[in-house]
Structures are given as C-alpha cells and as structure tokens.
C-alpha cells in the first residue's frame, strides 16, 4: 500500500519536472492544450471501460468519490502526451514519424503493463496487453488529430511565437 502511494507521488513529481524540462518555453501553451485534449478523451474512454470491467484500479486517490485512476488519467498520461506532441517533427518523413509514434506507444504500454503486474494501481479485467496497446494508440491518434486541427491555421499562432 505504501509502495503504491510512493509511485503516485513519484508520478506527480516526474510529471511536473518532465513538463518543465521537456517542453520548450515557447511551446508551453501548445503543450498545455495537448494535455487538456488528451485528458478530456481519456476520461470519456475510461468511464465506459471501467464500468464494463475492461480494467480497474484497486488503489484510489479518492476512495469515496471515484474508482478511476486519477493520477494516471488526470495528470501522468496527459503530460506524456503533451511531451510527445510538442517534440514531434511534422516535417520529417512518414517513416520517422511512424517510428516516433510507435516507440512512444510501446513504451507507455510497457510502463502500463509493469504497473499492472507489480502494483495494485491498475488491474486488467478483459483487457489484454495488446488491447491496452490498441487503446493507447486510439487515444493518442484521436488526441493528435484534434490538436493538429486546432493548430492547423499557422497564422493564428504566429504572434505569440514571435514575442517569445
């Protein structure tokens, strides 16, 4: 039990540090928007999947209020997505971008599986490891599409870039 709370605290600390270190100052707003978009999607998708027993989270931050994994959903994965989104290079070739996407997705899935296996923070129900992989691919893909749409009109976001 102590171990799980330690990991949760570490997630918050590493999330904050990662957000500050790996997102350049001029892209801070872009990163924050990516975080919020991913956060909105992961809630929407996790509600039904927790309800129907695809996965569950035995250790809760708010035991009375919710059974969802708050730290992971609300903070840690969104931060990872925003680091991913800000640091990708759209001008690269298709294969480089695909590899970048693939490596990120696989790393997060492995992290998720380790958490599931060795701690009580997550527990898979019907979900298998490739199910989780597909789930994360879906979340990343949808969020990325939305962020790309949001930042589509480059002229709108030029002013801020010039100032910083």
């Amino acid at each position: 039990m102590i171990m799980e709370y330690f990991i949760l605290a570490a997630m918050w600390v590493f999330g904050f540090v990662g957000f500050i270190l790996f997102i350049p100052h001029k892209d801070r707003r872009k990163g924050f928007l990516a975080l919020m978009v991913f956060q909105a999607f992961i809630w929407l998708c996790d509600m039904p999947s927790f309800t129907f027993g695809l996965l569950s989270a035995p250790v809760w931050e708010f035991p009375k209020a919710t059974d969802l994994a708050i730290t992971i959903n609300y903070f840690f994965y969104p931060v990872l997505f925003s680091i991913y989104y800000v640091n990708q290079k759209p001008q690269e070739t298709k294969w480089t971008r695909f590899t970048y996407f693939f490596v990120w997705i696989s790393a997060i899935t492995i992290f998720d599986i380790i958490i599931e296996k060795y701690t009580d923070l997550l527990e898979y129900g019907f979900l298998t490891w490739y199910g989780m992989w597909i789930y994360i691919v879906f979340l990343f893909f949808v969020s990325q599409a939305c962020c790309n749409w949001f930042f589509k009109d480059k002229a709108l976001f030029q002013a801020e870039r010039r100032e910083t």
Partner: protein, 90 residues
C-alpha cells in the same frame, strides 16, 4: 423512466443545442474555455464528493463514479464556453 433521467437527457440535449450558437470564428476560444473548465471542475468535483459536501444520488456510470459525469464533463464546461464566447469585451 423517472423524471431525473428525463432531466439528464434534456441537459444533454440543451447543452448540445447551445453549441450551435457558437460563432464559427470563435470555435477555438470555446474549445479552450471548455477544456479549462473541465480540468478544473473534474478535480474539484471529486474533492467535494470525497469530503462529503455533496451527493449525486442519480448519475451516469454510477457503479464506478460518485460524481455527476453529465454536469462536470459536459454541461458545466459548455456553459463556461458559451459564457466566454459571448462575454461583452469593451
């Protein structure tokens, strides 16, 4: 169906209806307001329920979540988005 479920349904219909009154050139402003509100209200909503200040006896996803998904995820952020979009600057 109990009246509460009809109310929830009408909240969804009303909020979605409001979305159509957002002018097209302000759609990005509305999205940012929506997401900001959502990130705040979700956490505060959980804290409020956790401390026992508030209860939602009838709610969506009731087996796993004791807060009101409808209100915190959709209705309140939509209200905030429309408020921000229509706010009379100057």
């Amino acid at each position: 169906m109990r009246i509460e479920w009809w109310l929830l349904l009408s909240v969804y219909a009303l909020s979605t209806g409001i979305l159509f009154f957002i002018p097209k050139n302000k759609i990005r402003l509305a999205i940012v307001a929506f997401l900001f509100k959502q990130i705040i209200t979700f956490l505060i909503g959980l804290v409020v329920v956790e401390l026992g200040l508030l209860e939602y006896p009838i709610r969506l996803f009731s087996s796993i979540n004791r807060t009101s998904f409808t209100y915190e995820y959709y209705a309140f952020p939509v209200t905030c988005a429309i408020f921000t979009v229509w706010y009379p600057h100057d």
